[in-house]
């Protein structure tokens, strides 16, 4: 379960990266139709994946605005991104 959740999270992060790459490309090629189409596809894919993630595992958090106001305040819950998966398990 935990592994599947991590895998899905990774998939979304990969999509985020593709979107970021397209954004940089579009900054210097603002009229490139193919890049705009690809961006549209990745944006839709991201929405689908996040919806699927939330159906299976609950709240998907990218930025603080995504955190639902329930007790206890979830934003502060670790691990934080720089913390090591291997060392956490020790």
């Amino acid at each position: 379960m935990r592994n599947e959740r991590e895998q899905m999270m990774k998939q979304i992060h990969r999509i985020d990266f593709a979107i970021h790459e397209l954004v940089l490309f579009l900054d210097t090629h603002p009229r490139n139709v193919k890049a705009l189409q690809l961006l549209e596809e990745y944006r839709n894919l991201r929405c689908e994946k996040i919806a699927e993630y939330e159906r299976r595992f609950g709240n998907y958090v990218a930025v603080v605005d995504d955190v639902k106001p329930t007790e206890p305040w979830g934003w502060v819950k670790g691990p934080w991104p720089w913390e090591n998966k291997f060392m956490m398990e020790d």
């Binding site: 490309f25 900054d27 210097t28 930025v63 991104p81 720089w82 090591n84 060392m87």
Partner: protein, 202 residues
């Protein structure tokens, strides 16, 4: 303004701490061609940029560099976890430890603290974009040098990712330079400075 995304741009999970590696990798945080300087350089240069495409590019690359310094810091943090005083002395990490314990402070591999003299914002679009192109190549060389010295795959993979980003940014800055010169006098790009002269390129 900015919003924090609670993730690394590329995952970092280092199994074996190594304070010797931490001391050289930290240069890509606070060193002369590191990610802190990269971020500050681009985010600073934005204000005097005359063209929208270049303002956007500097904002987006400058923001990505913040994510890169976070990755470099995560590497240093993980490489200096759970060290014994013996390991600290043996690895030469003691000279850093005495001032910062195992905090992640922006210094070069030589120990020099980060300084704004590592960056430039000249207020001239051609000059600034050349500074940016050079900066990306200098950072790429630094990653190449780190990859020459480091054999742990847990460290090499994120370093290879960061190295590849330098090349992508170089490409985008090259396009920004071309896009800018296209708006200038093709017989003399330096006839005026569009970052300062209001009628330049019009």
């Amino acid at each position: 303004m900015w919003k924090y995304e609670k993730k690394l741009q590329y995952p970092i999970n280092i199994k074996n701490p190594n304070p010797k590696y931490a001391q050289i990798i930290i240069s890509q945080y606070g060193g002369p061609d590191g990610e802190l300087g990269a971020s500050m350089r681009y985010l600073t240069q934005r204000y005097s940029m005359p063209y929208d495409e270049v303002k956007g590019l500097l904002t987006d690359i400058g923001t990505e560099e913040l994510a890169h310094l976070e990755m470099v810091c995560a590497m240093v943090y993980q490489l200096t976890k759970n060290l014994t005083p013996e390991e600290i002395k043996k690895s030469g990490f003691d000279k850093y430890f005495v001032d910062h314990t195992t905090a992640v402070y922006p210094v070069a591999a030589s120990g020099l603290p980060w300084t704004a003299t590592y960056i430039q914002a000249k207020g001239d679009i051609i000059t600034d974009l050349h500074e940016d192109l050079a900066a990306e190549q200098k950072a790429r060389t630094t990653y190449d040098n780190l990859l020459t010295l480091i054999d742990d795959p847990d460290i090499r993979e994120p370093l290879k990712f960061l190295r590849a980003r330098e090349i992508v940014h170089y490409q985008r800055f090259g396009e920004a330079l071309r896009l800018s010169t296209d708006k200038l006098n093709s017989k003399n790009f330096y006839a005026c400075n569009p970052s300062f002269d209001k009628n330049c390129g019009k």
